[in-house]
């Protein structure tokens, strides 16, 4: 007769479930609030008109990344941590501007606080005039401008890490 030391299948199943639940709990606890700031630290967003942004880009000695976002936009939430990381890494040589569109001040400030996007300069555009003028539909949109304001690339939809890093590197090298 063969002796088996293998535990019963339902025991394995219970242990696996407990283990997985513990792992998920630990990871979620670690994830909650990572990078976020207090909403009272986020000021009201100043407004911006397309002409003002155009003048700002033309006069900029640095390359500029302009991200069009809204707090109700789920894909914007996906790319927010990437933009925070990019601004932290490239903030010295590349200017990051976030344009909040078709949104409320409270919603925008909550979003900035949740993702800790305080290293990015944010502007408020409730009518969506900026993307309408710069050519783009929907959110999110990410524009990459060389120093001096020439458009290098516009990314429609949620951006991934590699595309973001590639285009920041492209505009930074040209500058």
């Amino acid at each position: 007769m063969r002796l088996t030391l293998r535990p019963r299948t339902d025991d394995i199943s219970k242990r696996s479930t407990r283990f997985l639940a513990t792992v998920v709990l630990v990871l979620l606890t670690a994830a909650c609030g990572a990078g976020s700031v207090d909403i009272t630290d986020v000021p009201e967003l100043p407004g911006i008109a397309p002409t003002e942004l155009r003048a700002r880009l033309d006069a900029s000695p640095d390359p500029v990344v302009v991200n069009i976002w809204a707090s109700w936009c789920a894909p914007c939430r996906s790319e927010a941590p990437l933009l925070r990381a990019a601004a932290a890494e490239w903030g010295g040589s590349v200017t990051f501007i976030g344009i909040n569109v078709r949104d409320t001040q409270d919603g925008a400030r909550r979003f900035i606080a949740e993702f800790g996007l305080t290293a990015i300069e944010h502007r408020f555009d409730p009518s969506g005039a900026v993307p309408a003028e710069f050519g783009g539909v929907g959110v999110p949109l990410t524009y990459f401008f060389y120093a001096g304001g020439e458009l290098a690339y516009v990314h429609r939809g949620v951006i991934d890490q590699r595309t973001l890093a590639l285009w920041i590197d492209t505009i930074a090298r040209a500058g």
């Binding site: 994830a31 990078g35 789920a74 939430r77 996906s78 595309t163 973001l164 590639l166 285009w167 492209t170």
Partner: protein, 229 residues
């Protein structure tokens, strides 16, 4: 944009499924089980890889469950690949090595198809290069390594080697270990050429090197045993 990503994923899946159908054309049962295993592994890998990426960037999946579907926002490839391998291993545990070995060459060709899909996504380019085959993201810009195409070519070569190994030593685990080693080596070789946020040796890169060493040792041990026999 999202549709181009889907197109690249479909290319990878078609390469894997097509190569499995071709390799196992004489044995429909193995063909079906390998394809099912592949689909299960890919789906499980995508879900866990996406969850891992969300958690790593500070997004709570319980608060925003719909965000799991936005795969373009990031999938942690190490978590996804590890999950896919573990799930495939779990579901073929009754005959572990024969099951995984039958899948290994198709998985390599599928990975190659996914990387070649960068042509659909405009996402082939990496770090700058002076080599003649580099190309630029913008007219007159800096030439760059087509790093995803390097990965695709390396994986095709590796896939052919794994296929040969599987034909010579089926069901021994040699093909699986060789696939793990060559896939991780491809990643280790090409990763420094990829554009990333942040610099330096990342934790995922250390994991990749660990897989290369572990699988390489397994391959060496198997060869050693075969010689002794």
């Amino acid at each position: 944009m999202e549709f181009r990503l889907l197109g690249a994923a479909a290319g990878g899946f078609a390469a894997a499924w097509g190569s499995l159908a071709l390799i196992h054309r004489a044995d429909p049962a193995v063909r079906r089980s390998s394809s099912d295993l592949l689909v299960t592994g890919v789906i499980a890998g995508l879900i866990i890889g996406r969850l891992w990426a969300m958690i790593a960037t500070g997004t709570n999946p319980l608060a925003h469950p719909g965000d799991i579907l936005i795969v373009r926002g990031g999938v942690d490839t190490i978590a996804a690949a590890t999950t896919a391998v573990l799930v495939c291993g779990w579901f073929s545990r009754a005959a572990l090595w024969p099951g995984l070995d039958a899948l290994a060459p198709g998985a390599m060709f599928g990975l190659a198809g996914w990387h070649a899909g960068c042509l659909l996504r405009d996402a082939c380019l990496g770090s700058p290069t002076g080599l003649p085959w580099g190309w630029s993201a913008t007219p007159g810009g800096v030439d760059r390594h087509p790093v995803e195409l390097y990965a695709a070519l390396l994986l095709i070569a590796a896939g052919l080697a794994v296929l040969r190994l599987w034909r010579r030593h089926p069901g021994t685990g040699a093909a699986t270990l060789a696939a793990l080693m060559t896939a991780a080596s491809t990643r280790a070789i090409t990763e420094p050429m990829r554009p990333v946020l942040g610099a330096g040796l990342t934790a995922s890169y250390v994991v990749v090197l660990g897989i290369v060493v572990f699988a390489g040792f397994g391959v060496w041990r198997q060869r050693h045993r075969r010689r002794q026999v």
